[in-house]
Symmetry: C2
Subunit: 455 residues, 2 copies
């Protein structure tokens, strides 16, 4: 008699969920694998949405990274428009709602990859026509149609984080007059204020109105948006409002079922992405991730992490013991012609942790000094001035930033000191770097401030 079929159930059909499904299938050709997806599509490139809205990417189909057919051909059942509303980890089942029915599904192993959703601030008027968040392809398509039809002349973006800035740029490209409102005293809270100031000056130089230390208290309008009222009493008139105040993990349903959550509301896991419940794993934007600089679990939702964690969860759920080694917090965004990148922890964060921290900021160039087309690059290194250990870095420039940062992320992952950083053998040719790469110039400067110098 054949053994009864074992069932791996995966909640969420984007980066983490599908990586997990495909990895599990490769490990075990006979396992029954089901992916539950709340929306009508799987695996679209969410990070591409602002570029789709700006029309840098013309066709929404380009964002559909993986068609459902490919999954089905691999023997992965994909159930679209299936929303998990409740879980019962004792009886190993989840309750799913579709348009037609309410259904119970049993599992042997469960991977929660339910992602994140935009925070919808509790602000009056948020349900008016013309108020958008940026997370789903359907809504993005609707917004883009409105932009192309010329419906909007001016927009207010609430939130000055990555998505807020990308959207501000996208709307500017579409010819709108854009105002960005940010509650904190600076844009991009993941970088230090001195570096953020460079971004702010570029933004305003390009005609974006920026209001930091400002909160939106009300979106004005009857049916459609007419403006935004700030806590300073100012009325910013506009027909379009983008809410970009961040995302939060989609994990409440898991918490209610007894899966342990962290302070951010994201699912707690160990290094093997196991939750506190046997045979239940979590991966991607619904889960915490270990920051290897601080050695603490934090909420740092990013697509790259989701993809990697999905694989690891898929491995562990199919009996291959695989560790997820954590992240250093590498991230980059392009906005207003600037590449803005960061890794590790900020100086402000290190000060809050009462670490013996110092920083240096230098201005270098992306190419040899004599090479045409060279651009300025600002590099900030944050380091422990007793040991010299690198703690974080930020970089801003018009070219050559994103991948240069990856060198620093690699250095962080290896816990290098700024002295070791200054000894790196980096490639050189006039079109790509000066003979002293900005990274090395910064490391040389930093070294001088380290107490534990080698001679």
């Amino acid at each position: 008699m054949a053994k009864p079929e074992k069932h791996l159930l995966i909640i969420g059909g984007n980066a983490a969920g599908l990586s997990a499904a495909r990895r599990a299938r490769r490990n075990d050709p006979r396992l029954k694998i089901t992916v539950l997806e709340k929306s009508g599509i799987v695996s679209y490139g969410a990070c591409g949405l602002p570029y789709y809205i700006s029309d840098v990417i013309k066709d929404e189909k380009a964002l559909l990274v993986l068609p459902v057919d490919a999954l089905v051909k691999d023997g992965i059942d994909v159930l679209l428009n299936h929303e998990v509303v409740e879980m019962n980890v004792r009886e190993r089942s989840v309750y799913v709602r579709t348009a037609e029915q309410f259904q119970k599904i049993q599992y042997d192993w469960l991977i929660i990859a339910s992602g994140a959703r935009p925070i919808e601030p509790d602000i009056p008027g948020r349900d008016l026509d013309g108020v958008y968040t940026v997370r789903s392809l359907e809504k993005a398509a609707q917004l883009k149609n409105e932009l192309i039809s010329g419906k909007h002349r001016s927009a207010v973006v609430i939130g000055g984080g990555y998505i807020g800035l990308e959207m501000a740029e996208a709307l500017t490209r579409q010819g709108l007059k854009v105002t960005v409102i940010e509650q904190k005293s600076q844009v991009l809270p993941y970088i230090d204020s001195d570096m953020a100031a460079l971004v702010e000056s570029e933004m305003t130089g390009r005609g974006v109105a920026l209001k930091t230390s400002t909160a939106a208290v009300r979106i004005i309008g009857e049916q459609a948006v007419r403006g935004v009222e700030t806590d300073g009493g100012e009325i910013l008139s506009c027909s379009l409002v983008i809410l970009a105040v961040g995302v939060r993990p989609n994990a409440d349903f898991a918490g209610l079922a007894g899966i342990e959550l962290g302070p951010s509301g994201a699912i707690r896991t160990d290094d093997y992405l196991r939750t506190n419940v046997l045979n239940v794993y979590a991966a991607g934007d619904c889960a915490q991730v270990k920051n290897t600089v601080t050695n603490k679990f934090e909420y740092f939702p990013l697509g790259t992490t989701a993809n990697k964690q999905g694989r690891v969860a898929g491995d562990n759920a199919t009996g291959r013991r695989q560790k997820f080694s954590g992240v250093v917090g590498a991230a980059v965004v392009e906005a207003f012609g600037l590449e803005i990148a960061r890794t590790g922890i900020t100086e402000a964060h290190a000060l809050k942790l009462r670490m013996p921290v110092k920083s240096v900021t230098i201005k270098g160039t992306s190419r040899a000094g004599y090479f045409p087309g060279k651009k300025e690059i600002y590099v900030k290194l944050i380091f422990d001035f007793l040991s010299g250990r690198l703690l974080g870095a930020q970089m801003i420039g018009k070219e050559g930033v994103a991948k240069r940062l990856d060198v620093l992320s690699t250095a962080l992952q290896q816990k290098l000191t700024v002295q070791e950083l200054s000894e790196l053998d980096l490639s050189y040719a006039p079109p790509f770097a000066p003979v002293w790469d900005p990274l090395l110039i910064a490391a040389n400067q930093a070294q001088k401030l380290v107490w534990a110098r080698r001679y």
Copy 2:
């Protein structure tokens, strides 16, 4: 009574020599420092010469990185047109020839930073008008004048290394019909033949005639060049010949004085850049450098290394004990629209060393798959298949190659395995990388071939 003034003498006024001089001055404000330079200029950007010849860089003055005045103001004596013809390490003196005289100079410490010179192959006709090497700014200016005057229609470049390819591109840009002759079976001997094939196909696609496994036996002409005869008996007619068969260390005079040389003719040093003679240091293209992948001293002349070694020699000559940690062999060249980068050792080299080596080559993209303007990137990883340790890497593509390679150089310097490489947290945004960076795709592939897998 004041102590007699101590004297640091530096032979060579380019990257290594001037870095050494400036570092020594910073460490010791009172030391007498003299730089002897054979030619009439110091510190020009030699790596920029091909770009100056192609007219990407318009003005030769751009290549003069550091004017003599700045050095003199720092109290560094710079003696131009002073050629060292002999040394006597017992009496701590060097003999110098100028246009007017022959002079003896005493030193307390000596740094030899005499650089490299182009190998002038022993080929009949090499003294004809229209035969050039690419090392001095004076000759480059003369060549550029000839190109602008329209004197040349076609050129033969002898040598398919970095400089050969850069010159082939420069001359192509200047409208010449170019043939490249290379004695070996491939261009760019520092990369593996499979990767070199990608370069060769791009070159020929752009109209450059390429003859590998071909030697030049004679340059034909009476006063001026009329052509080149190959070992196959073919006559390639041309009015311009570029000799680019590599460089050799400028260290014979040191060898004759008892300074120990390595098999390549470059000066042997230890990790502190000390030669076998007390108080004599060597730095830059005249010296060997430790390859930290093989742990052997090799000849690998590059401007970045010269700059770094110069500083270290300047430190050690002024009593600050400083180690030069070696190189991994990172290098990049731009030619024919390709960025061609390499680090560590080649697969061919590893096989010759009888290492347990395997490699993977993958094709990725420079940006997200859905992002306009993305370019292909080929990544080859070379690794020890028993331990998984990375040994080398090569990368070719039309953008995003040079600084991506630096991640691998950092990984090599830290002796990472391909498994560890696959765990790197690299920055991601659609304009700069796919969510799985080509580096990670390659590392994931490589992992599968490693015996010592972790589970």
